[in-house]
């Protein structure tokens, strides 16, 4: 395969531009010294509505959603559209809890969700569980961003085999790691502006030009319908079938509940200046959902345009992530394809940076400071977090090099199931600490164990894998310690949802038992008023390193 020079040069030019911004960001809106976690890890905790909109938008609508969701539509049809109801549901659901999280974190100086759990329950064990769950769930998410970036690089002809084939990805990531190390959360916040400008430009052009070229939306849907009708698989189609209806609903709801449990999403929210900033963003962020929905439909446009994904030279198999890049390559002039590739590539860098910062914050606050170096100074904390952000990124690169990109998507689905198990500890705890510490621990163990067991039993006929083949479980296979209540049913359900119900039931039962036995439930350092404080309140903990 030959290198596509026009695309590559435009991509490289935009990449150099954002690299410059990334290093410059260290000086942007700077408050105090960067050697405090409030500064490096939360951008000084004073982002306004616009910056937050770009930051959280860049954080949630990632390269993965830009390549994998349309790829899913391309392959499976209506099921892939779950991403739209998912992002419709998320904002009404988190609108109230998220501002409570902001307030209590500002009163007590919490940087991570695990900090909050530590303060709310006074239990280092519980905080450790939340921190470890967060880091483990985030790693494959970062790896997925890399899969998106690599899909673009391979489409541009940098499709080498073996270890050397990953070199372009590795170089891009070293640069990202360096400016994240230098500038902290300000780097992705600033780059997010460029990313979104490019994404909106590309999408608007694509949804105007592609239907015109392909005979209108009607014929795009008809082409997709014809393709799915021709295949033997019963579960695909442009409408939901009897088997995947429940999976569609539970996956949309489960993903919506999981989203703001991810440490990087919390990081974006805690970096904002006030409750009002978060609330206004909950109103404004759905603008991205429209874009996401239109993007998803490009998967059908690719069907209508007879797009073929390229063969990944490192794995020797078709790489469905390249469907969207190849659609742009085939339907648009080279220079525009270059801009589209840069949009996807930069769209991978922003979330990857935020995620690695969030994971680094968790490591530093809830493992390093809680267990390894209790009397660490703020400077030591900050240095530790910077180094941790490097380690996390290279861990993610290793994941990509060692495994098939197809497998990385399954890992991400597993990550979603895992992070959902912290819902009782984090989200419910924002409202009540009725659930007992050990009830939460028991629920976590059951939810995690059951969820992973069920995931292990899911094969993927398409990729020929026996285990961990996705997150859609046939109710037939649902077993509660050997008992199969729905034996024979082919209806599918999202594993994360099932495991969360198990988690909650166990947490409630154990809590009732422990309350009967009057077992102590630790001490709560927060008060009811802490959850309502806003910008300007005297109760807020001053942000360290502020000059004014």
């Amino acid at each position: 395969m030959t290198v596509r020079w026009t695309e590559l040069i435009i991509f490289a030019a935009l990449f150099v531009l954002v690299t410059g911004l990334g290093f410059y960001a260290a000086r942007w809106q700077r408050g105090g010294a960067l050697d405090h976690l409030d500064e490096w890890g939360l951008g000084g905790r004073r982002f306004g509505s616009w910056v937050t909109w770009f930051l959280i938008g860049g954080d949630l609508y990632t390269a993965y959603t830009f390549v994998a969701v349309p790829a899913l539509m391309f392959g499976a049809g209506a099921m892939g559209f779950f991403a739209l109801p998912y992002t419709v549901l998320v904002y009404p659901l988190v609108f109230l809890p998220l501002v409570r999280m902001w307030s209590v974190s500002r009163v007590h100086g919490y940087v991570t969700p695990a900090d909050f759990v530590q303060g709310r329950y006074g239990s280092a064990t519980l905080a450790l569980l939340v921190a470890v769950t967060g880091i483990v769930a985030t790693m494959p998410y970062i790896a997925l961003q890399l899969a998106g970036l690599e899909a673009v690089l391979r489409t541009m002809g940098l499709n080498g085999g073996g270890l050397a084939g990953h070199a372009p990805l590795f170089i891009a990531f070293v640069i990202l790691a360096l400016y994240t190390y230098q500038s902290g959360l300000r780097a992705p916040a600033l780059i997010a502006f460029v990313k979104d400008a490019l994404i909106y430009l590309v999408i608007i052009a694509a949804v105007v030009i592609l239907p015109a070229k392909l005979g209108g939306w009607g014929s795009i849907f008809d082409a997709a319908n014809a393709k799915f009708t021709a295949t033997k698989t019963p579960s695909d189609g442009i409408l939901l079938g009897a088997n995947n209806r429940l999976q569609y609903i539970t996956l949309a709801l489960g993903s919506a509940l999981a989203l703001f449990l991810y440490p990087h999403a919390v990081t974006g929210a805690l970096a904002s200046r006030s409750r009002g900033v978060i609330k206004r963003n909950m109103v404004a962020l759905p603008a991205y959902s429209l874009v996401l929905g239109l993007l998803a439909l490009l998967g059908y446009a690719a069907i209508a345009a007879h797009t073929k994904p390229i063969v990944n030279a490192a794995t020797g198999r078709g790489d469905s992530n390249t469907v969207i890049p190849m659609l742009f390559e085939g339907q648009f002039p080279s220079w525009f394809a270059g801009i589209a590739f840069a949009a996807i590539g930069i769209g991978a860098l922003v979330p990857a940076a935020i995620m690695s910062i969030a994971a680094a914050n968790l490591w530093t606050r809830n493992i390093y400071k809680a267990y390894l170096h209790r009397d660490a100074t703020t400077e030591q904390e900050c240095r530790q977090a910077k180094i941790a952000s490097l380690v996390v990124k290279f861990g993610a690169v290793a994941l990509i090099v060692l495994i098939d990109p197809q497998y990385s998507i399954d890992l991400q689905l597993i990550g979603g199931v895992i992070i959902l198990q912290t819902l009782p500890m984090v989200a419910i705890a924002l409202y009540t600490r009725w659930l007992h510490t050990w009830g939460l621990v028991a629920g976590w163990i059951v939810g995690m164990g059951w969820g992973l067991t069920l995931l292990y039993g899911i094969p993927n006929p398409a990729s020929g894998k026996q285990h961990f083949g996705g997150s859609a479980l046939a109710l037939d296979k649902l077993s509660i310690v050997g008992w199969q209540p729905f034996a024979g049913s082919p209806t599918q359900v999202y594993v994360g949802f099932v495991a969360l119900i198990g988690n909650l039931v166990v947490a409630i039962l154990v809590t009732i038992a422990l309350r009967q036995l009057r077992v102590s439930n630790g001490t709560d350092e927060t008060t009811a008023q802490d959850y309502l404080q806003d910008e300007g309140s005297a109760h807020l903990k001053p942000v360290a390193g502020m000059l004014r």
Binding site: A78, L89, G218, I238, R275, K279, V283, P286, L532
Partner: protein, 64 residues
């Protein structure tokens, strides 16, 4: 009284959950601009969600 009315506005946040009732719109016809019902209904839920959250933001006060 004020607290009660603030609470009632928050019920609006549950309205977007209707998007989960897929049998309401799991159909090809009627199409709008070539989009099957299944797709354009879900697109309409985006502005509906925005309206619900915006009304709660404006009406439910900032203290709770």
């Amino acid at each position: 009284m004020r607290i009660m009315s603030q609470m009632w506005w928050k019920v609006l946040l549950l309205v977007p959950l209707l998007v989960l009732v897929t049998p309401l719109y799991n159909s090809d016809e009627p199409r709008v601009w070539g989009f099957p019902l299944f797709y354009w209904v879900q697109f309409l839920f985006v502005p509906l969600g925005v309206i619900c959250v915006a009304v709660v933001y404006l009406k439910a006060g900032d203290r709770r």
